[in-house]
């Protein structure tokens, strides 16, 4: 199995070099790069599937020595599951990119973009199989930098450069915590090999917090999420699909992997994750509702979904800390399945967003409308993605949320009162987030694809065959997992067992999941039967076309339709205290008002509320240090002399004792 994965990584890197080399031939470099990544992803996905279905321990240690140990890679169930997510979502994104990027031919060189895309996939695969701290951090940084350059693909735009800087700063902020984490673990165990990492007591607590902040910054836990709504809209859509679909999940992988080093969890760890999950879920979806840019909306929805995953991990830890393996199993398997599901559906939605932007030239939800008839395949895939991401049956999103819900219900029923309260908190949070997500995505889908266009969109056209094909495959996977969840659970179970130290086969949710498939088929049967009944009834009758009932108004215009913002307004009103809305209103006045205007700017509570002002304050405090930087060589020589003398004195004092 490991061989297959290493082959896939090698193929990715090779094709990256080839397409980077073909600087003059954009189309050839795109074709070769895509072929390489699609073949590599297919091979890798098959390898990961095999490793999950027929697990056999396989590892590889480099015979050469790096300064701090030998490189070590291996596959276990957790790695294999995340590899599956990486390869499936990346393969689809690469295929989509082959249809999305030709629009840029002649405008900029595609070679580097294609190469970096493949490097990003390779780095994620390498990260997941790495078994020593140094290799892990190298892969992590390659991933961060490759994605930074992909985000700043359209670097002539000022907003893109700003978004890129925000992303770079956020990811380097996170990695500082990871360096400290691995140094602490490495020092306490004397090696950087994951097999020997172990921490207990205070060290474990410190490592847990470092991992939550360090990996949480990549995953997008609130309030470390502020880079997501900047970077995702700036990046090309296939890159957004890859970053939101799998790259942020590397944070989740890192957190789960770190938890395996830390021994039995303290009771408060689960509280931390449940609170972070609830905050990310609610803040993410409320901010998503407030956005008017399609990709920003999707980016905030990723924050929400990461929150759901954190809730699942929190329940897993809760079960572990109370010794309740059932709760732990449902929590971890729900979180892991949601990692895969969210990769698929958010990939699908970002691809749909890409097609809309590609076809109409705008990503502003409020200007669009009525695209269903112009872009039927995109619209259908976006509909599937929307239903899935709202967690509605019978699609895949529901299955993951169902597992987390069952974990919460079982926790509430079987844990002692303090634990039960923590588990119970997850239930209303999941329900409220689900309801808000449904509102958000009905509003988004309805505004973009249904009704009439709100602006003239003469150029609006359907995406090309590669993009449509990718979206259809993605939709098929979403529906497939939803209809046959018991089969997919078999892939999740070993990984969940490893993450939660649960004996394999202890708990099995496949019975209920099969029953769930039965309900899905009954539902499909009922829908088909009712549709047939109606068409039979209408066969010989008069069916006419008319205009929408306008309640007697004689001059309706498409501009009068409800927009995504008006749709979200009654929901946002109760949440006004937690979103930052700045309103500039110049209302109509007098008997014959000549002009009126209304502007609304939605900010981010975490970013504009405390992170950016806080960072500014730190920067201002640190700028005091500039007095020592005078730009004179003589002065710097004095510093060196002073330092050396100080060190010499320190050494002498030490020797004297």
């Amino acid at each position: 199995m490991l061989g297959t994965i290493l082959f896939a990584i090698a193929l990715l890197i090779l094709s990256a070099f080839v397409s980077a080399g073909l600087t003059r031939f954009d189309r050839a470099s795109l074709a070769l790069g895509t072929t390489g990544s699609v073949i590599a992803c297919l091979t890798g996905a098959i390898g990961a599937l095999m490793a999950l279905v027929r697990p056999e321990p396989s590892s590889f240690r480099g015979a050469w020595s790096m300064p701090v140990g030998e490189p070590h890679v291996a596959i276990d169930a957790l790695s294999a599951f995340f590899l599956l997510c990486v390869f499936v979502v990346s393969g689809l994104a690469a295929l989509y990119g082959s249809g999305y990027l030709p629009a840029y031919v002649g405008k900029r060189r595609l070679g580097p973009a294609v190469a970096l895309f493949n490097v990003l996939i390779a780095s994620m695969a390498g990260l997941v199989i790495a078994r020593d701290g140094i290799l892990f951090l190298i892969a992590w940084e390659v991933m961060s930098f490759a994605s930074f350059f992909l985000v700043t693909f359209e670097n002539e735009r000022e907003d893109v450069r700003r978004a890129g800087m925000t992303y770079l700063i956020a990811s380097q902020f996170g990695v500082v915590f990871l360096f400290v984490l691995f140094v602490l673990l490495g020092r306490s165990s004397g090696t950087y090999d994951f097999d020997h990492f172990a921490a207990v007591g205070g060290l474990a607590n410190a490592c847990f917090l470092l991992a939550v902040v360090g990996f949480g910054a990549k995953a997008g836990f609130w309030p470390f999420h502020i880079w997501l709504p900047e970077a995702h809209p700036a990046a090309p859509s296939h890159v957004s699909a890859l970053m939101s679909g799998v790259m942020i999940k590397m944070g989740i992988y890192g957190l789960l992997r770190t938890l395996t080093f830390l021994g039995p969890p303290a009771a408060w760890w689960s509280t931390v994750l449940l609170l972070l999950g609830a905050a990310s879920g609610l803040m993410g979806i409320v901010h998503a509702l407030a956005q008017r840019d399609l990709k920003r909306r999707l980016a905030y929805s990723s924050v929400e979904n990461i929150g759901l995953i954190a809730l699942g991990i929190g329940l897993g830890l809760l079960g572990q800390s109370h010794g309740n393996a059932i709760v732990s199993f449902f929590g971890y398997s729900g979180a892991l399945l949601h990692v895969l599901n969210h990769g698929l559906m958010k990939g699908l939605l970002f691809q749909g967003a890409g097609s809309v932007i590609h076809g109409t030239g705008t990503g502003s939800i409020e200007s669009l409308g009525g695209l269903y008839r112009r872009m039927p395949t995109t619209a259908f895939s976006f509909l599937v993605g929307s239903i899935a991401i709202c967690g509605l049956p019978p699609l895949n999103g529901f299955v993951g949320e169902w597992l987390i819900y069952v974990g919460a219900f079982r926790g509430a029923a079987s844990l002692p009162a303090t634990g039960a309260v923590s588990a119970l908190v997850a239930i209303p949070v999941l329900a409220l987030v689900g309801g808000l997500a449904a509102a958000c995505f009905v509003g988004t889908f309805g505004t973009i694809f249904l009704g009439e266009p709100r602006m003239q969109l003469p150029r609006a056209h359907e995406a090309g065959i590669a993009m449509r094909g990718t979206m259809l495959i993605g939709s098929l996977l979403c529906v497939g997992i939803g209809l046959w969840p018991a089969g997919v659970l078999r892939l999740v179970m070993p990984a969940a067992a490893l993450a939660g130290h649960i004996p394999v086969g202890l708990s099995d949710a496949s019975g209920p999941l099969l029953a769930m498939s039965r309900v899905a088929f009954v539902l499909a049967f009922l829908i088909a039967a009712l549709a047939l009944l109606r068409s039979a009834l209408l066969r010989r009758r008069e069916v006419t076309q008319g205009v929408t009932w306008g309640c007697g108004y004689a001059a309706p215009s498409p501009r009068m339709q409800y927009t995504a913002s008006s749709f979200a307004q009654p929901l946002l009103a109760p949440f006004a205290p937690i979103i930052r809305v700045r309103v500039h209103e110049d209302g109509p006045s007098g008997y014959f008002p000549a002009r009126a205007s209304y502007e609304e700017h939605i900010g981010d509570v975490a970013g504009e509320g405390f992170l950016i002002p806080g960072t500014r304050r730190v920067a201002r405090a640190l700028s005091q240090l500039r007095v020592i930087q005078q730009g004179r060589v003589q002065l710097y020589l004095v510093y060196i002399v002073v330092t050396l003398v100080a060190l010499l004195l320190w050494q002498l004092m030490g020797a004297a004792e």
């Binding site: 409220l432 689900g434 009905v442 309805g446 209920p512 769930m516 009758r541 309640c551």
Partner: protein, 309 residues
Amino acid sequence: MTLAWDVTLHVGLLVIAPLLLLGVIQKTKAWFAGRSGAPLLQPYFDVWKLLRKGAVYSRTTTWLFRAGPIVSLATALCAGLVLPLAEKSSPLGFSGDVILFVYLFGLGRFFTMAAALDTGSSFEGMGASREAAFSAFAEPALLLCLAILCVPARSVSLGDALGALPAAPLGLSHPAYLAAALGLFGVLLAENSRIPVDDPNTHLELTMIHEVMVLDHGGPDLALVLYGSAVKLFVVGALLVQVALPSPAQGGWQSVGLFLGGQLGLAVGIGCVESMMARLRLPRVPQFLVGASVLAGIGLAALLYRGAP
């Protein structure tokens, strides 16, 4: 043999009984107003009449407009098949069906809202937006009420949860059950577009919620909408009735009678509420629903800290 009989009875109740509830509500309201009112079976006549008509579709719409009524009826029926009705198990129940029960309604609502937005009418968009907002606040209340039933039963299945209820009526056995029954009543009024959340009889599009979403449906589609909302009322009502009046007998004619009596009583109760209360202002509705969640939360706290019955 008994299984086949149980399933037949279940499906029969689910298919035939719902429209009667609408008739009872109308009759009660007529009685309050001093009118004689339409016949009890009027909703059946209405559906029959609509099923025999042709259809007019807006040129703006796509297949989603036609899918709306079908999916919302199909999901309501499916939810009815998952929930036990006057017996201890249901045809499609399983461990974990509690969550599916709630989310099936979510799916139906998704398609109803999409169908409303499909017409491009700002009135229907307004209705969809309000429906989305209020259901988002109703869902936590519903799930918390269900958690009250599930926690003492130590199960995630509706059949087990309802079967484990002590046979004392109206939640007299434990304050948590009283909270669950009251919370469920609030959710029922909101989910089924009843006063004080929505007024099914309003005559101004601007003030409607559910009715304005289906403004453009006519003929067989409107029949499906009407029947679908009756089934939804029946199913959510069935849950409330079984919480408020747990049947002492394990199945059998006695519990079917108790169940139907409870449903009819509930319909009379809804009629009374609709006759005696005014509709809440729209900004008050979320407060009403959050109130239902808080009530359920207090019930859960009572269960966890005072012990289950």
